[in-house]
Structure formats: structure tokens, C-alpha cells
Amino acid sequence: MDEERLDRSRRIGWLNLDAIARARILMVGAGALGNEVGKCLALSGFRHVTVVDMDHVVGSNLNRCLFFSKEDASGRRLKAEVVAQGMNALSPDMEAVPVPTRIEEMSDPGFHDHDVVLGCLDNIAARLHVNARAYQAGRVYIDGGMEGLTGKVMVVRPPKGACIQCGMNRSHARVAGLRFSCTGKDVVFHEPRLAAEITTTSIVSALMVREAVKHVSGRGEMLLANTLYYDGQRNVAEEAEVQVNPDCPVHGGI
């Protein structure tokens, strides 16, 4: 049994490793969160992952991105390809497929063809797009966000409950469309902003994959009910409830 790769995972009684092996995951974003989510997916026994990202690796990614190297940065390699390659190297059963494009340009069947969508995005506009598409397709959407030592994970479970858009207010509208990372010349820099760091990235991405594992294992009752806010400065993690906004267009509002 010490030779079997997933032996220790099997000891968690409720984990459904067969379902995990069959599940089709759409991972949107292959930056800092995408690297850590990709690592956790590969080591958790997932095999079928589509990695979507249109960006290139740059040097400032290297403080928090497991799969990126200096050579990837100097060669301006595509993040989706590097992350998919790294995931495939981590697990012999992994079949991660890179899709180096903007999620907005991905074809319609993309969402329907997957069981779970994991959002590792760095801007509100893309989040809203993925949120709406996943909701329309009836797919669980697990969204992660971070800034400095704070992080957030939200689980959207159509057709029940609130979605990403329900929880947004005027402060989100002001910064929608800006990208909150430092990945290259095409970025609209948003100053002053705390830099992202790996420990928060690891925590947020681990929580995201854990929720995906629960959902795929058929343990919906264990899923995060709504949103979890993490504050690494105060060492606090708290659930909060975002309520359905009757005006939310995703929910058929205005």
C-alpha cells in the first residue's frame, strides 16, 4: 500500500476518488492562484483539467508560482501551457490541456463540457463573465481572490443561492476591468496595491480545491455555504452570506 500513489487519500472515507478521476475541471486563470490550484488538483487525483489563460510568464510572477521558471519568463512562455505541463509532470494520470486564449473568446460548449469551474482570475470583468457562463450552464463555480494577506473564496451553486454578481456593489464597479496583478505591459496598474504573496495564495487555492473535491465526491452538504473571507494578518477565517440580489442580471433581474 505504500507504493500506491493515492493510498493516504483513500483513508479519508468520504473522498470519492473514482469520481475525482472522472471529473472534468475548467480552470480559468493560470497565474499565482492557477499554479497552486493546478498543483492541488494534480495531487488530489483529478485527471481532466482544461487550463485557460491568455497571458505570458514574466519575472515578477516567480515569487509565488510553482510551475514558472526564469527561463519561462525570459522565453515569454504562455502561462496556460507552462501550468498544464507542470500539472502533467506532477501526476502520471493527469491530462491537463492548455487553452491559451481569453476566457471571453472560449467557445460555448466549454462550460457545458465541464463539471466544475474554478476561477483563478485577477479582474472583476472576467469574474463576471465566468460567473454568468457557469451559472447559465448550471455548473458549480468556485471563485478565489486575494490581496496581500487577505483572501476570499465563494462557491456559486446554480440554481440556488447568490452568485458573484449578487455580491458586488459600487466599489466593484469602479475597479471592474482593472487587473490586480503585475504580469506585464498589458496590465493596467492599480496603485497603491499590496503585492500578492505565496502563503495567502496557497491558503485560498487549497480551500478552492477542497470545495471542488467535496462537490465532486457528492458531499454538497459539506460545501462552503456561500463566501469565506480570510485575513492572514488577524488569523481569522469567517463565513459570510451574500444574498441573492433581485436586480442581478444573472438571476434574471434588470
Binding site: 472583476i124 466599489s171 490586480f180 485575513d231
Partner: protein
């Protein structure tokens, strides 16, 4: 009908600081977020306001959000980086 102003307290989740605000039923959650963020010179970014475990809807008036005198709300950053 004339509504009387009432006072609430808004806490800054990042620092623990608090500020009292005098508001009316017609004020909105969005307005509180903007006032508090400005008061504490917050970076431009996304924030939410919560009462207990509930995240308050931005466009809701204080009346709709059932905010009453002496309520304590908390302003928390809504991190959007990835």
C-alpha cells in the same frame, strides 16, 4: 413622513478602528462604503459591508437593509487579485 437621523458604528476590519456615522433611512450601503473608505484613506479597490454574517447589498437603503440605530457594521476588503 420625515425620518430622523440615527447613528451607527462602522468598523475597519483591517485595523480594528471604528467611526460613528449619522445617517438616515434613505442612505444606501454604497454610500456608507464610500464614506468609510474615504475616511480611512483606503486604496481604490473593492470593499463590502457586513452586518454580522450578512454581506449587505450595495444599492439597498438602510431601511431595506434593516439597519437601525447603534448597529455595528464592518467594512472588509473584497480581494479580487489572482
Amino acid at each position: 413622513m420625515v425620518t430622523l437621523p440615527f447613528r451607527i458604528k462602522v468598523k475597519n476590519a483591517e485595523t480594528g478602528a471604528a467611526v460613528e456615522m449619522e445617517l438616515e433611512d434613505e442612505n444606501t450601503v454604497d454610500e456608507i462604503i464610500e464614506s468609510a473608505a474615504t475616511f480611512w484613506n483606503k486604496d481604490m479597490g473593492a470593499y463590502v459591508l457586513r452586518k454580522g454574517k450578512k454581506v449587505l447589498r450595495g444599492g439597498a437603503s438602510l431601511k431595506d437593509a434593516s439597519i437601525r440605530t447603534d448597529d455595528v457594521l464592518e467594512l472588509i476588503p473584497d480581494p479580487e487579485g489572482g
